[in-house]
Amino acid sequence: MLKSVIVFFLAFLIGLFVQATLVHSFESAWVAPDFILILVVYLGLHHKSPAGAVGAFVLGLGADFAEARFVGPNAAGAVLAFCLTVEISNRIYAEKGPATVLVTVVASATKLVAYALMLMLYTKTNVFSGPFAWTVVKEIVLTALFAPLVMKLLGWGRGRSISRVSDAYRR
């Protein structure tokens, strides 16, 4: 349990660093993949419990504090994305390949919609504009493309792989 917490804390910091720094070394545009969201999806696929929901909440809270503007929208989006991921993975096998990409797309869209709704409700910001919507689509696509690689790395980091889980089930 402690190992999982440490791995996720390090993954959170690395994800923030990559999002806020490394990506912009290659591309000066504002769009970057949401690595925090990928961590939330990973939690939804492998920790389908209230503890996983709390973990998603904490990850979202960390993203809110990193923005230093509002506390709550990223956290709410992360919890909803987690719940949706759990629901989808209970119906289809989503821990590998194209299904992971699909789940990430849906989770990312959910998180962004939740964030937008909170912004509209609490700050009266108009989020519906053509150029901005296109930026949001780019973020969703980038996040989904990076998801399989990041999840594989997370699996190695926690010393757990699909084949080991399969072996346990076979026994």
Partner: protein, 288 residues
């Protein structure tokens, strides 16, 4: 009951957490220092890695510029020398205008204050004290427009200080750790700056939009605003020094009804290529 709670524990936990998020959002809007408290903590965690990355990248760029990208260097040098001469001449003219302006203010008794001896004295704006800083990180979120600087509280920075790029507004410091700070850019949708249009002297408030544009709000219809007009900080908010350039008008729309015009601006600072900025340390003292 316990069976119900056990079967729906995930759903109940999620509902409670979302409700908590709504409460936290409400609290952070009423109390802006709350999210900034956590922001300082995250800044302190990330800053060492961001600084290391920035220095490593600068070294690589420096090596590239010095040893690889030396084509047409002589032509570029001649162009720069010519540009420097023109800028020096313009600087000289502007210095002269400034001196004349100061003299005229004294003659007109433009602004007076009582000094310690009880005599009236004319006050001239104090020169700006600026601290240079490098941008070491950006906010990757689509919703926030912030950058991280490599200066912090140990360099004299504090929350609320304005940040400029030459004479153009970049933003305002919102979170400070010991060795780094976070700047809210003027194009962020939560940013608001009190402004005036340089030609017509119409007053308004410049707010960021989710796209990388600005809008000027609360400008009455009676004012004549044209595309190309420059918008500057009014200094009335006590944050940005008066006269600091904010942007240039790109669109003006007067509807058939309503009190105000719909005005969009392009920011003057190049926010996509921010590398070095200046933090104004005595902005309040420089208010005109």
């Amino acid at each position: 009951m316990s069976e119900f709670l056990r079967r729906h524990s995930l759903l109940i936990t999620s509902v409670v957490l979302v409700a908590l998020c709504c409460q936290l959002m409400s609290t952070s809007i009423k109390n802006p220092s709350f999210p900034r408290l956590g922001g300082r903590f995250v800044l302190a965690l990330l800053a060492p890695a961001q600084k290391f990355h920035h220095e490593a990248l600068s070294s690589v760029n420096h090596a590239w510029d010095r040893y690889v990208a030396l084509q047409n260097i002589e032509v570029e040098r001649d162009e720069l020398v010519e540009r420097v001469k023109n800028l020096e001449a313009e600087n000289s003219r502007l210095t002269e205008y400034r001196s004349e302006n100061d003299r005229l203010r004294v003659l007109l008794d433009y602004r007076t204050s009582t000094n310690s001896t009880g005599l009236n004295a004319t006050v001239v704006s104090a020169p700006r004290q600026e601290l240079s800083a490098s941008v070491i990180g950006q906010e990757a979120s689509n919703w926030a427009r912030t950058v991280t600087l490599d200066r912090g509280s140990k360099d004299g920075l504090r929350e609320g200080l304005p940040v400029v790029d030459g004479n153009a507004v970049v933003g305002q410091i919102i979170a400070v750790s010991a060795s780094s700070s976070k700047v809210l850019l003027l194009i962020d949708n939560t940013s608001a700056i009190d402004a005036i249009v340089q030609t017509s002297r119409a007053q308004g408030t410049v707010e960021g939009m989710l796209e990388e544009k600005l809008r000027l709000l609360y400008v009455l219809r009676e004012y004549e605003i044209n595309v190309g007009d420059r918008v500057i900080a009014s200094g009335l908010d006590g944050i940005f020094p008066k006269g600091t350039l904010i942007g240039v008008v790109t669109r003006v729309e007067k509807g058939k009804s309503g009190l105000f015009q719909d005005i969009e601006l392009e920011p003057s600072a190049d926010l996509r290529r921010l590398e070095n900025v200046f933090v104004v340390l005595n902005a309040a003292a420089g208010r005109g």
